[in-house]
Symmetry: C2
């Protein structure tokens, strides 16, 4: 971990610069794959699975027998843990609905809106170095709570032709409608355009590598919505001398083990905290099975000493971390001043892994600075809003001249006429 | 207008197929333009303005004197109309905030979320065949209500080097921070990456042609958010024999005058309604200044006779219209059963132009079927959500084993260790 002391504000951007992710170079390849699946359906999906994932697949859908087998494979301990996590995620994600509010904007003109589930959604669950069954919970639970009619999931099978048992168990537990053994670009293509086996969906969620991300961005051209452009995971910690360096080190490492491209940032007003955390990292990293990955990620990461916590918070608001841990005194007050960040962890006992698995908040969060404009996934991500207006005879009488004046000024005579004809009819 | 009687369900998709919009072919050109602006800033913007918009520009920002001049040019009648429209839009868009709700998901684990304005946003206002000052209201008002710090606007100037006076007046009225005389791809690029003159923003809103839409989709790769992929405008009308054919004709024409690629759809259970509406269209279209455009759009449009209104509603839910007018008995009950649509107009006096200008709802809406997954612009479009969690010592004691079990099952030992180390510390 690099250490930077008292940097100037103008240098902040460079110091916390994320590794560049350029999916442009994949653009043509991804476009060609999407087109093939759009035109040739299941055949193309099978061919790409054979080419890229190196195994032959006949039946793309996961069969009932495979779910039964998966359930038998999952330990009772994990089942119990998943039940608690599910209950917590449901509690937090349920608290979102609000009744439509009618607003009479002008006498006789009533407007309101209504949230409606997106009828068909697709979830992509990667299966790279770790089986991410927790992501199934984070996507399928809000989809179900939102009321989506069809919840399709794609996840690549291993060389044995099977999807991870816990992933399948979680899918069943959380009400996923159909699961397909498809990964990568071809999974996004199948869900966007539909094939003989896979239903076309209207919005695609979930993390993935650069190919998956580029594919998600490209299908937006065809009106398919996506949750967000996903990048490598990252955590930032703001710490003062009330932190426990061993905890901070453990949190930084829990992010660093995700991948070599993960980024971790420590910001503190205490040189002792930096020293203590670095010591603890050296000690703890040795004990990790994924220590090589963690070490590589730490090599890209930075500890920054700032003069004051306020300055540190400014820096972190510029950085816009996916996960931000506040291991400082009065963490909750400081939390209110966070303007850019995905999910915030308050105080010494709120480790990032709590949010990753079971606190109840969603772990599908904006990375790579996207937290400046994007929100994490929530139940509303699986819904859209329809607006309504109802004008009575009085409404058109009261508002008509305003509409006519504006339409005329925009040179849109037919827009104006739609009002004129009604006002004349009313006499 | 084509007339189709009693089509089979399996033919619906083809009958209401929208003209294909393929922005892929612009992809390379747009990418090159974006890169140039990213690397060369204002110089590239000036060069593209000269090349594509055919005029030379020195000062990109609109100066204070130009706002003063614009205000003098706008008639008092239009100013009064804009004031009413602004008040209505504010009333409807203000009714969105809700207090954060704290949920204790497990004893000692409290989660909540907070909506925060996106600090810097960009609005694109096209200036093609009509000056769309109404779009300034629809974007700047919710941006201001959301609390965005910087509201940047780009709109191309005419050959005289001026932006439309009403557009500038509306920008000032609604609190736009800075206005730039830039159009097309280079405007999107300037707002996404920033130049010497134009501040970089985090989210870009607004309609535009295929180049603007493709540019918006491409800057998402760099974590810039966008409102939605915009396509040609469209209206659908569901009518029964309680409708007034002259009104329906006027509404269809008000959409058709937008552009040759606009699409209008009439769905009804009455052959008399089709005949009456077609008669009225023939009569009314003659009186329009934009009759050539309207005629071209109508040539791509369809009137569909269905057996029942229920069937018609099913068809329209599949179609997912940007604007849907319900000129039927019990329109309000039927409105509750709309599952896909941008903005809904209820009853004979709710013309689309009311929503376009002044009812209070937003007119920036999902086109091209995107209403299946996208919402229209609202105040929340200018905000993002940050989630929070706070675990007490009891919280980590109560939830710790669940997190440990799940982390271990995902093979993420450092995630597990972040909990273990805290539980051991507590003894």
């Amino acid at each position: 971990m690099k250490v930077v002391e008292f940097p100037q504000r103008e240098d902040w951007t460079d110091i916390v610069k994320r590794p560049a992710i350029d999916t442009r170079k994949l653009s043509e390849f991804v476009a060609a794959t999407l087109t093939e699946v759009r035109l040739k359906g299941d055949d193309a999906v099978r061919r790409f699975t054979s080419e890229f994932d190196a195994f032959e697949i006949d039946q793309l859908a996961v069969g009932e027998d495979e779910f039964v087998e998966a359930e038998a494979e999952v330990t009772e301990e994990l089942k119990a843990a998943l039940a608690v996590a599910k209950a917590n995620i449901e509690k937090f994600h349920a608290a979102e609905n609000s009744a439509p509010q009618r607003v009479e904007t002008t006498p006789g003109v009533v407007c309101w809106k209504r949230s409606v589930p997106i009828d068909k959604v697709g979830l992509y669950i990667p299966a790279g170095s770790a089986p991410l069954f927790s992501t199934v919970l984070m996507l399928a639970i809000p989809a179900r709570l939102a009321g989506c009619g069809e919840i399709v999931m794609c996840s690549p099978a291993g060389r044995d032709g099977k999807v991870n048992a816990a992933t399948l168990y979680a899918a069943k537990l959380c009400g996923v409608t159909k699961v397909f053994k498809i990964g990568g670009t071809q999974a996004v293509a199948a869900m966007a355009y539909g094939t003989e086996s896979v239903p076309a969906v209207y919005k695609i969620f979930g993390p993935g590598n650069q190919y998956v991300t580029e594919a998600k961005l490209q299908v937006m051209r065809d009106g398919i919505s996506i949750d967000m452009p996903a990048g490598p995971s990252e955590v930032a910690v703001l710490a003062d001398d009330t932190c426990v360096p061993a905890f901070v080190a453990a949190d930084l490492l829990s992010q660093a083990e995700h991948g070599q491209d993960s980024q971790v940032i420590l910001v503190t007003n205490s040189r002792e905290v930096i020293d203590g955390v670095l010591d603890e990292i050296s000690r703890q990293v040795e004990l990790l099975p994924r220590r090589e990955t963690a070490r590589a990620a730490l090599a890209n990461s930075t500890a920054i000493l700032v003069s004051t916590l306020d300055e540190g918070l400014d820096l972190l608001n510029e950085y816009a971390a996916e996960h931000l841990i506040l291991a400082v005194e009065n963490a909750e007050q400081i939390a209110e001043r966070v303007t850019n960040g995905g999910s915030i962890f308050i105080g010494n006992y709120s480790c990032e892994s709590a949010g990753d698995y079971a606190s109840g908040t969603n772990h599908t969060l904006p990375t790579n600075g996207a937290a400046r404009a994007f929100s994490g996934v929530s139940t509303t991500s699986f819904m859209k809003t329809i607006t309504y207006q109802k004008l009575s005879e009085d409404g058109i009488r009261n508002l008509g001249s305003v509409i006519e004046t504006m339409a005329a000024a925009e040179g849109l005579e037919a827009h104006r006429n739609a009002v004129v004809i009604r006002r004349e009819y009313l006499g």
